[in-house]
């Protein structure tokens, strides 16, 4: 076929080419190199590394805490977005600006600050110790750090969507007899769900890869509070590059599968 299809929007070839080059240089080639480096290992060696008990424990911890933090932010972030969009109160602009601070703050600073607060000798950690549990140096502390670092994702993805739902829609539901909880359950949440899943996925993915803030508060005890990124650093310190990339490949694969699943779920929801 020689006929050229013409589109109203020009530059499809140019923009696609640019996208592919850009994506290749920044994402695909580095990731490809990661996989390539792993091939220095034999299949048996690879399996041995990624199925080591220490690695599996760290895998469980990393994904578990990232998931918990994403769920926690899914709730807190939704409430924050709701308050910021629906109500006008003094200091709203300040809170609005503060939401993004976790992104601006060096994660190590966040980690040190949280540790100082939640360590057994810190002001809040002391309280927890008196009540008989530990925050810092436990999975709980890691979840806390991840919740802090990933806070903006859910808030920022929900805000525009929430602002876009007219008040009238809630009033219409009320006129039809819906109670406040029914309005939330049947009108607001379904309308927010696709955006909420996006925010959740972003927070989750960021939490899995987070390093700086976690290593301070985690305590890094092997088998107990050691996250996967730290394990990679440990391998690198021992000049075990192939071993480090093997763990990297493991993380990437699991993350990719989970994010793909979230994406598919989102599509199903969006198409009714």
């Amino acid at each position: 076929m020689s006929s050229r299809s013409t589109s109203v929007i020009p530059g499809f070839g140019l923009t696609l080419g640019y996208t592919l080059v850009y994506l290749s240089l920044l994402v695909l080639i580095p990731l490809g190199a990661l996989f390539l480096k792993t091939t220095e290992l034999s299949w048996a060696q690879f399996i041995a590394i990624v199925s080591a008990p220490r690695v599996l424990a760290a895998l469980k911890l990393s994904f578990g805490t990232a998931f918990a933090a994403a769920v926690l932010n899914g709730v807190i972030g939704t409430l924050l977005a709701w308050v910021l969009v629906r109500y006008r109160f003094p200091g709203r602009k300040i809170i609005e600006a503060m939401i993004d601070l976790p992104f601006a703050l060096p994660t190590a600073v966040a980690g040190i600050a949280l540790t100082a607060l939640y360590a057994p000798n810190g002001p809040i950690g002391q309280l927890a110790t008196d009540l008989g549990f530990k925050i810092a140096y436990s999975p709980l502390g890691i979840t806390l750090a991840l919740t802090f670092v990933t806070l903006p994702f859910v808030v920022r993805t929900l805000q525009p969507v929430l602002a876009d739902i007219p008040r009238e829609v809630e009033e219409a539901a009320a006129c039809l007899g819906a109670r406040p909880l029914q309005v939330v359950r049947h009108v607001l949440l379904p309308a927010l769900l696709p955006a909420w899943l996006t925010g959740f996925a972003l927070a989750f993915a960021r939490g899995v890869g987070e390093y700086g803030s976690v290593i301070f508060i985690a305590g890094n005890m092997p088998m107990k509070t050691e996250i996967l990124p730290l394990l990679i650093m440990v391998k690198l310190d021992q000049y075990d590059y192939a071993g480090a990339t093997a763990i990297g490949v493991l993380m990437l694969t699991v993350s990719f599968i989970l994010l793909l699943a979230i994406n598919l779920l989102q599509r199903r929801i969006a198409h009714g």
């Binding site: 007219p166 009238e168 829609v169 009033e171 219409a172 539901a173 009320a174 006129c175 039809l176 007899g177 819906a178 109670r179 029914q182 049947h186 009108v187 379904p190 309308a191 009714g272």
Partner: protein, 331 residues
Amino acid sequence: MSIEVRDVNKRFGQFQALQAIDLHIQSGELVALLGPSGCGKTSLLRIIAGLETPDSGSIVLHGEDVSSRDVRDRNVGFVFQHYALFRHMTVFDNVAFGLRMKPKKLRPSEAVIAAKVHELLNLVQLDWLADRYPEQLSGGQRQRIALARALAVEPEVLLLDEPFGALDAKVRKELRRWLARLHEDVHLTSVFVTHDQEEAMEVADRIVVMNKGVIEQIGTPAQVYANPASEFVYHFLGDANRLQLDEQRSVLFRPHEVRLSREPQADFLAGEVHGIRPLGALTRVTLRLAGHHEPIEAEVGHDHPGLVGLGRGERLYFQPVPSAQAQPSAG
């Protein structure tokens, strides 16, 4: 179901939105709240629905004071200007919403709900769209779905806030005629808000003309048009010419309340033809008068003998024959 509004006042900050509103609407009536934007008509409608609380006064539905009752328990159907359909639900689910939200004991079975929804969709002639989403519909279709949704819970009163305001002129006309016919069939006490006098005249049994938070006049379309209670009502219900006779006296008349002649006649005034606009059955002639700022607009039948061969700049004689004069208002 009758509606009574008793001495309702509402203030938003410094702004007095409604002042001592008293209104009685008979069971089965179709009433228009007519007025310019900011006159308080929408606030009044929202207060009747229970979406807004008055500062003082009460709302009585069918002899029962519902002032302290929540919008959920007033059993009113409300139709919004911008439809307010649930975007993530199909047309079917939108209409079924009210029935599905009922408490378990009162909730009909899904089979009964489905039958009811299809019955309503047939009533608004859109049953074939049941599986579509609101964004796939035109504005007129969306508003009819919103109406079906409001009717699903069998409200005793139907309230419509500028229901045709977001539609284009042709659809608007079709839909308001359709609403008037529907009201004849269903006979539900209905109140609709509009700023369009033509819409109010064409659809309503009675018109409530509002201005600046007070009711200027209540009456049938014929009454308010023929016997306007104030100059405001007179001006709001149609185009008007004001002709200054001398320092004190002036006369108000509508464009069609005029006689035209090519020859000078007793009691006729002279004007210069400034424009001629054929409008279908009528033709509008704009006249400029010496010493007058405002031009006079006259509308006569397109076959009026005075129009034959008439051109711009020619001299034309006219006589105002006003049929209605605004009663000077008390103020």
